[in-house]
Each structure stands twice: as C-alpha cells, then as structure tokens.
C-alpha cells in the first residue's frame, strides 16, 4: 500500500463552484474517510477487544497505524465553499464570516437580515 495521496485523487475533478487546492484536498480526504470507515472500525474493534489474543490486537494496531493519513476522520476540516478559507466557517451556511456578511447584505441568505436590538 503506497503512501501517496494521489491514490485518493480522482481522475477527473469532481467538484464545482469555488475550487482551491486545499478545498480539493479536503474533499479527497472526506471521500477516503467515507470509503475506509468499515475497515477502520473493524481494526479499532480488534484493538479494544480484550477477549482477543494479544498478538492479534497488536497486529491490528500496526495495521491501523499503517493506514493512510487521509483515512483518518480527524483530518477533515470544514472549509468555506465560497472562498476555501478554513477559519470562522459557519456550520449553518458552510461559508466564512466575511462571505457570510457579503452574502447576507446582498440578500442571498434567506431570512438573514441586519439585526438591531
């Protein structure tokens, strides 16, 4: 199993809208995590199951650590779909705070208005 990230890269770009290298990378990670989740869960189960022989558990540990970094769910980071920024991204709208402000002022976010109270 090669350690190259290119194995998770699709032949053809499967994203539309705003596209960024970091955005594509995050997208590939998401795909990798989705595809390898059962494998990871099986290995995690083997490692934690105390009724299994120690050798099997150690082997499972090794195999899990050998898996590619892209298959780790902690590698996923929410990114702004309009600008690719990774900071201050609102979960509700999946956009950055500045993009949120611009779109809200332009009336592109339904129901969002300027507030004063």
């Amino acid at each position: 199993m090669s350690k190259m990230a290119s194995m998770f890269r699709p032949k053809k770009l499967d994203l539309s809208g705003f596209v960024n290298t970091r955005l594509i990378r995050d997208h590939n990670k998401r795909n990798a995590v989705e595809q390898t989740e059962p494998e990871r869960q099986a290995l995690r189960y083997l490692i934690r199951n105390t009724s299994l022989p120690q050798r099997v558990r150690a082997q499972a540990q090794l195999q899990l650590s050998q898996m590619h970094a892209y298959t780790r769910p902690t590698q996923i980071k929410n990114r702004c779909v309009a600008s690719g920024t990774a900071r201050a991204v609102f979960r509700d709208f999946r956009i950055n705070r500045f993009q949120f402000r611009m779109q809200a002022l332009a009336g592109e976010l339904p129901g969002v208005k300027k507030a004063s109270w």
């Binding site: 299994l52 099997v56 499972a60 195999q63 201050a88 969002v112 208005k113 300027k114």
Partner: protein, 257 residues
C-alpha cells in the same frame, strides 16, 4: 347657464326612469301575455312629442341599471365568498389529537397565508382543526467583523427569525388526514416549510392485534434476518485479518484507487 337645464333634464330622466324601470321589471314576467301594447300606451300618455328620444335614453338607463342591479343583488358563489370571511371550522367531537402540523417561515405573510389555506382545506376535508397556534419564534443571531481581516472593533449583527405556526387536527379520519397532508404538499407555498407529526390510535385490544400480526411480520422480516449471524462452515475463526483482506475489502480498495 348650462348647469340648470342639464340638471332639469337629468331630473326628468330620473323621474321618468323610476316608473319605466318598475314597469320593465313588472313586464318581464308577464311578457308572454302582452309585451308590445303597454309601453306604447304609457309613452303616449306622458309626452307624445318627445316619444322618439325618450325611449332611447330609457333603454340606455335601463341597461346600466340592470348592470347596477347585478352588482348589488347578485352574490358570489358561497365558496368564493368564504374566501373573504374567516375560515370555517368543523367541531371536534372527542378532541383527540391526530396530527400536528408545524409551519415555518422567515416571513409573516407567507406563514399566515399558508396556515389560513391549510385550515380552509381541512374544513372541506371534514377535519376538525385547532389553531393556528403561534409558537415561539426562533431567533438566531450572528456577529461578524465588518472587514475581512482584523479590525475586530468594528462589527456587524445579523439575525434570522424563524416564525412558527402549529395546526392541530383532532379526531379526523386517518385517510383524510393523509389526503390533507398530500394536498398541502402538492400546493406547498414558497418559503414555507412543513413538519407533521401523525398519531394513530388503536382499539383497546392492541396486544391481541399485535400477536396476530406478529407471524406476518416475521415472514416479511425473514429475508432480512437471514443476513445476520455466523455461518456454521465459517473456518476463519478469530482471524479478522483474513476478513479484512477478503474480496469485499479488496474490492473497496481497488474501487477507491
């Protein structure tokens, strides 16, 4: 100068119009008996010299009057008239809640309009309705810096207020409740979201009914339950690595690569 004669003429017209129109109304039902002689006689009696222009004016007035009478007397069909009035409601006999429909929107007009529409639809489907109950608004607020970079001191507030209305159906026929929900879905209004909780009520012998239906349910579940458990000829034993290296996982790996 001109105002006085015109007024007098108009007055004459008015004076003339009253008996004529009354006569016209009276004659219409009695037309088959003798329609032609009676108007001729009356015109002769009033003014023989002005007999030619007056009937024309009278005819014009009578048509306009007829239109006016239509406006005044003719009523809209009941169903159309009801649109201008408060929605009609059925009375609940037992008051057993059957369905809760929650409408959500960001604008008052939309949600109010659609709640009204839903209540009217329920009336024609013979469903007793209570509501619309205005549920608490959901206010979400965000504060963001105005600039795209630093300058935290200058910020801006945004909010999104979700308005909610609850419409409850009481002791309605479950099929008509489904029909009502389907109708509302078909005529869904823009900017209004819907969420329905539907309850079904059983008779007191629920346990017996469930026992009876258990065998049928088991039959339907059999193909699904057959997927669970371990095969007797499973020689893999404790070795999960064989499973992980099996065709299924290999397939996934190859598909991903």
């Amino acid at each position: 100068m001109f105002s006085n004669p015109t007024r007098s003429l108009l007055g004459a017209g008015r004076r003339l119009r009253v008996p004529l129109s009354a006569r016209w109304q009276s004659t219409t039902p009695v037309q088959p008996s003798a329609p032609s002689p009676s108007p001729a006689q009356e015109t002769k009696t009033t003014s023989p010299a002005e007999s030619v222009p007056i009937p024309e004016a009278n005819a014009a007035k009578s048509t306009s009057e007829r239109m006016g009478a239509l406006d005044n007397n003719a009523r809209l069909p009941r169903s159309v008239q009801a649109v201008y009035l408060r929605p009609l409601r059925r009375k609940a006999e037992h008051g057993l809640p059957v369905c809760d429909l929650q409408l959500r929107s960001y604008s008052v007009e939309n949600v109010e309009f659609f709640a009204d529409f839903a209540i009217r639809a329920a009336y024609y489907l013979n469903l007793p309705v209570s509501g619309p109950v205005p549920l608490p608004r959901i206010v979400e607020r965000w504060t963001v810096p105005r600039s795209n970079f630093v300058h935290k001191k200058s910020q801006e507030n945004f909010e999104r207020i979700t308005l909610r209305r609850l419409i409850q159906i009481k002791d309605g026929n479950p099929q008509s409740v489904q029909a009502w929900l389907a109708f509302l879905r078909k005529h869904a209004f823009y900017g209004v979201g819907m969420k329905a909780n539907v309850w079904e009520h059983e008779s007191l012998d629920v346990g017996k009914a469930m026992d009876q239906s258990a065998t049928e349910i088991q039959k339907t579940l059999e193909p699904h339950l057959a997927q669970f458990g371990q095969r007797e000829d499973n020689s893999a034993g404790n070795n999960m690595f064989d499973v992980l290296d099996s065709d299924r996982f290999a397939e996934r790996k190859s598909a991903r690569a």
